[in-house]
Amino acid sequence: MAEITPFTYRPGDSSLHFLDPRLKFFIVSLISVSLVGAGFISTGICFLMLVLSLKKTGLHFFSILKHLKLFLALLFFIFLARAVTTQGDILVSVYGLALTRQGLTEGGLVAFKFFAVMLTGLMFSVTTRPSSIKAAVQWFLKPVPLVPEKRVAVMISLALCFLPVILRQAKEISDAQNARCAHLQKNPVRKTMGLVLPLLKRTVLSADRLVLAMESRCYRDDRTDPEFNPSGREPLFLFGTLALCLCLLLC
């Protein structure tokens, strides 16, 4: 997965790395929801804490900005849209579009909040192993009726195994097609089919081989539940988060 995104798990020894993934998921959700009702000052405090936490995980703020270019462009679009659609004291008027003071404030706050929520999610992604995420998902789905949590966990594991296979094969096919001048093909449907059809054929054959291997090893859904190893700092993080959320909602 590291081939497609830098926001994947990074090994480290920060407290966040050793925190129970279930609590970490709860903390991330709580902060994300609390940010919805937050003001500028409290979002700023939360943002500062997130940036400092991310620095401890080895991710630099400016490298994050570089990789989130598209998301930032979307946030800028939201900011502009809010700035010109909110009624209030007009600052500038161009071609019938009025930029208001209230619009600028509201647009800035909404974009800031979205960015802070995105950073919260990234903090979770870079400090949690995919296997721990899978275990946490399985644990959270256990009480949900009609959802076979063990099968969902197996599907997550299989999907994570398929990711590098698909990426490798897509690159191989693309190189092979380009060597045969496929990049000169003008018909967009043929161009799409030229990449996707061999990719799907190959990956379906890989999936068939995997089914055979699993069947021959008498695979069953009924597997041992994952174990969690809490670090002991969970209560501290929980109370810290509750205090932060209270600050977010009240300030």
Partner: protein
């Protein structure tokens, strides 16, 4: 459904979860706007896996993205993405895959009906995504349609045609 078919569908659905995740990163350079393959794989999941497994596949994709695995476009994940400006499109994949699969299955998996099913499915994605975009950005519905739907229609039409041919070729291979 036998245990063997069940296992086969589990593996195929997992394959499509990975394809949908990778689809956001594989782009075919056609014209100024490259074609991104994510929704092509969502539509194909509906056509090839059927309503239940198609729905399960998209639900697992959204769950792992929500849970923190960086599988959404741009290598992002979490609540911020799901409830952000493009969250409506992501959530729209759930009814999209179910309706596409149900219509295709109900009408006998013929190419023309597959195209009809995918058109309906794609419209459902926009029906969920555009009002969501409108609510987040605060702009008018007309502007939200112009920004969040119109520029992608030609690409979607191409993907639907390609997906119809792909489904026809892959069904015998997957023995579905």
């Amino acid at each position: 459904m036998t245990a063997s078919t069940d296992l086969k569908m589990t593996v195929y659905a997992s394959l499509f979860v990975a394809l949908i995740a990778v689809g956001a990163f594989i782009a075919i350079p056609i014209g100024p706007v490259p074609i991104v393959l994510q929704n092509l794989f969502v539509l194909l999941a509906g056509l090839l896996l059927g309503p239940v497994w198609g729905l399960a596949c998209v639900a697992v994709y959204l769950i792992i993205g929500l849970a923190g695995l960086p599988v959404f476009a741009g290598g992002t994940s979490g609540l911020g993405k799901l409830f952000g400006p493009t969250g409506g499109y992501l959530l729209g994949y759930l009814p999209c895959v179910f309706i596409t699969a149900s219509v295709s299955k109900g009408l006998g998996k013929k190419t023309a009906f597959d195209i009809l099913a995918m058109v309906l499915g794609s419209l459902i994605v926009y029906a969920a995504g555009v009002p969501w975009l409108k609510a987040v950005t605060g702009m008018s519905l007309e502007k939200a349609v112009m920004a969040g739907m119109v520029p992608f229609l030609i690409g979607d039409a191409l993907k639907i045609v390609a997906a119809a041919f792909l489904a026809k070729t892959l069904r015998p291979l997957m023995k579905l």
